[in-house]
């Protein structure tokens, strides 16, 4: 952990030291600069929002965090250590889970199997034991099923347990995808527009789930969101991106009063 001091939020949650630190990240795709020299940190137990107009580079930032993209410049520090270039599945093993902007569920599988797949890193029985099934493999399956059933209860999706996810409405699919990420019991949870395309009621549900995850399990969360109202409500600190650059960083109140942010959101012309 870094030297940042821990503090207690007005609603009584403890925010600890730095979990993830992005240092001077620059990411280019050919001529396009998706991320321009951005630095920020995420602290233990906080809900950190990343906002900005379409194409600002927010999703790219998450992709750098979980290893899909490798920045040309800059460093990623996780739990006080500089991270070597790693594959996404290795980063997953370090305890980072995520959801996608465009739902990325396993369409051919049921809700239950999708969420069970989220337990992959916690399941250890080898191929031989899996072949035999009786014994350790079956026991491990039942233990992990129990954890998954908690996630299912938590997200209130008991009724669709055995439904193929392809048959679910959009809002529920988003919920199942969150469930799959939660089943991994991550230290850091990355959510890419978890409420995009939802109606008000669905958004409220999702906000509540995010707050509860953070509150009950102490999970650190970084989320991308467009709805400013939601961001103001649930996040502790906000990074604002525009055209690949960071134009604001602070508490929701600080950010909303920042002139550069107001310009970006009110659509002041960029020359």
């Amino acid at each position: 952990m870094s030297a940042a001091e821990s503090y207690v939020t007005p609603d009584g949650r403890t925010i600890g030291g730095t979990v993830l630190e992005m240092k001077n990240i620059t990411l280019r795709f050919g001529g396009v600069v998706a991320i321009k020299d951005i630095s920020f940190d995420i602290r233990e137990g906080e809900i950190r929002a990343i906002i900005g107009p379409n194409g600002a580079g927010k999703s790219s930032m998450l992709n750098v965090m979980n290893g899909f993209y490798h920045p040309q410049e800059g460093e990623v520090w996780f739990h006080g250590q500089k991270r070597k270039p790693m594959k996404p599945y290795q980063i997953a093993k370090q305890g980072i889970a995520r959801t996608f902007q465009n739902i990325a569920l396993f369409k051919g599988m049921s809700t239950l199997d999708n969420i069970m797949t989220g337990r992959f890193n916690h399941m250890k029985t080898n191929m031989f034991l899996q072949m035999i099934w009786k014994g350790p493999a079956e026991r491990e399956e039942a233990e992990n099923r129990e954890i998954v059933e908690h996630v299912i209860d938590f997200l209130e999706i008991q009724a669709i347990r055995k439904t193929p996810v392809g048959a679910l409405p959009y809002g529920l699919q988003k919920r199942v995808e969150l469930g799959r990420a939660l089943a991994a019991q991550p230290k850091l949870l990355l959510l890419d527009e978890p409420m995009a395309g939802m109606n008000v009621e669905e958004k409220e549900d999702m906000s509540r789930f995010i707050l509860d995850v953070n509150d009950e399990f102490g999970t650190t969360i970084a989320l991308i969101e467009h709805d400013m109202g939601v961001v103001m409500d649930i996040s502790d600190r906000v990074v604002v991106m525009d055209y690949g650059a960071k134009i604001g960083d602070g508490t929701p109140d600080e950010v909303i009063n920042n002139q550069a942010v107001i310009d970006a959101y009110l659509g002041v012309e960029h020359e």
Partner: protein
């Protein structure tokens, strides 16, 4: 009325997760096993064994294998014929080099060798998908057939270039060679089929099976959950090739007895296996059996009806066979991508609710 879960409550997660959740299904399954082991061996004759039952059992193992790779892990392979040849030639070399080796061991080692070869040819799957992977595995098919033709070491320098299965026994009963009896050959294959079906079911119901399906359905999402794509695809290629190698070994040793590689394990066999898996049902253990059964029995039935009952020339029956297969492939791909097994599942679902559909 009897086909439903009323009164059939599940108390544990293991019960909820069993292979045949409904009691009726479980009984049907035990009944099939009892008949297969207890009754069929007493009635089976040479004609039925050679024309229908043994090829069905052998192709069922191969279908399970290709279904693991294609149906569960979503990787295309046109190399099955070549991999069956690897199993066959491994068995031949083992049988001729170690005449005392138990045939079960021969077949299993042949499977293991094929698994290694399959993993080698599965390596490109990390970089390429779909059509390009299909082409790469097609190259494996042609390369392997060429290799077994080219190097006489593989066929022990026999003048004909063919391989011939010598007589070998299991626990004192001959299962290969001209004098092996139908019941012995049948039981030998049956034991392997039951074993491999049971393993396939176990592998596909837990962690490994889900990682295969995750790669099939959405590989980037699989990766962020911690699934290593290369390792996962290679285990699928390995397990799948093991099955196909075992099938190839049986096809040669128990079923054909004499093999010329291009004829026995050509590209037609790769396609036949793909058709079985598609028509039976992708991603279904039961579907593998249905597909194998269908494509083994349908030509027999067709020949019987067309040639013997209606008096058409046999080649017309053979042509009609292709027409029917082609039509069914299109039908399943368009209407029911999960094959006959899915139709069966839907029918059972309806039956559960009958006679009160709501």
């Amino acid at each position: 009325m009897f086909y439903r879960e009323a009164g059939d409550f599940k108390k544990t997660y293991a019960e909820d997760n069993q292979t045949f959740p409904l009691r009726v299904d479980r009984w049907a399954y035990y009944l099939v096993l009892v008949i297969a082991f207890g009754a069929v061996p007493f009635f089976i004759n040479n004609w039925w064994a050679n024309a229908a039952i043994i090829p069905f059992l052998v192709w069922a193992i191969a279908s399970l294998g290709l279904n693991i790779l294609g149906g569960y892990c979503g990787q295309i392979s046109l190399g099955s014929g070549g991999f069956m040849a690897v199993g066959a030639y491994s068995a031949y070399k083992l049988m001729t080099s170690f005449p005392d080796l138990n045939m079960f061991i021969v077949v299993l080692i042949s499977g293991a060798i094929t698994a290694l070869v399959g993993m080698l040819f599965g390596l490109p799957s990390l970089r390429i998908k779909g059509f390009y992977l299909a082409v790469a595995t097609l190259a494996a098919q042609f390369f392997l057939v060429w290799m077994f033709n080219k190097f006489s070491w593989f066929y022990n320098n026999s003048a004909s270039g063919q391989i011939h299965a010598p007589t070998r026994s299991v626990f004192g009963y001959e299962v290969t060679g001209a004098t092996a009896t139908a019941p012995a050959k049948y039981l030998f294959c049956l034991v392997l089929v039951v074993l491999f079906a049971w393993i396939a079911r176990n592998l596909t119901r837990g962690r490994i099976g889900r990682s295969w399906m995750a790669i099939r359905d959405m590989d980037i999402a699989a990766e962020i959950i911690g699934v290593n794509p290369l390792k996962t695809k290679l285990t699928a290629f390995g397990v799948s090739s093991f099955y196909i190698g075992v099938a190839g070994a049986l096809f040669f040793t128990v079923y054909l007895g004499d093999v010329e590689v291009g004829e026995a394990f050509g590209i037609q066999k790769s396609f036949l296996l793909i058709f079985m898996v598609i028509i039976g049902g992708l991603g279904s253990i039961l579907g593998s059996f249905i597909g194998a059964g269908f494509l083994v029995l349908m030509p027999l039935l067709l020949k019987y009806i067309m040639a013997e009952k209606l008096g058409f020339p046999t080649d017309i029956a053979a042509h009609l066979e292709f027409v029917i297969i082609g039509f069914l492939i299109m039908l399943t791909l368009v209407l029911e991508p999960h094959g006959i097994a899915q139709l069966w599942r839907v029918a059972k679902q309806k039956l559960r609710l009958w006679p009160f559909p709501h």
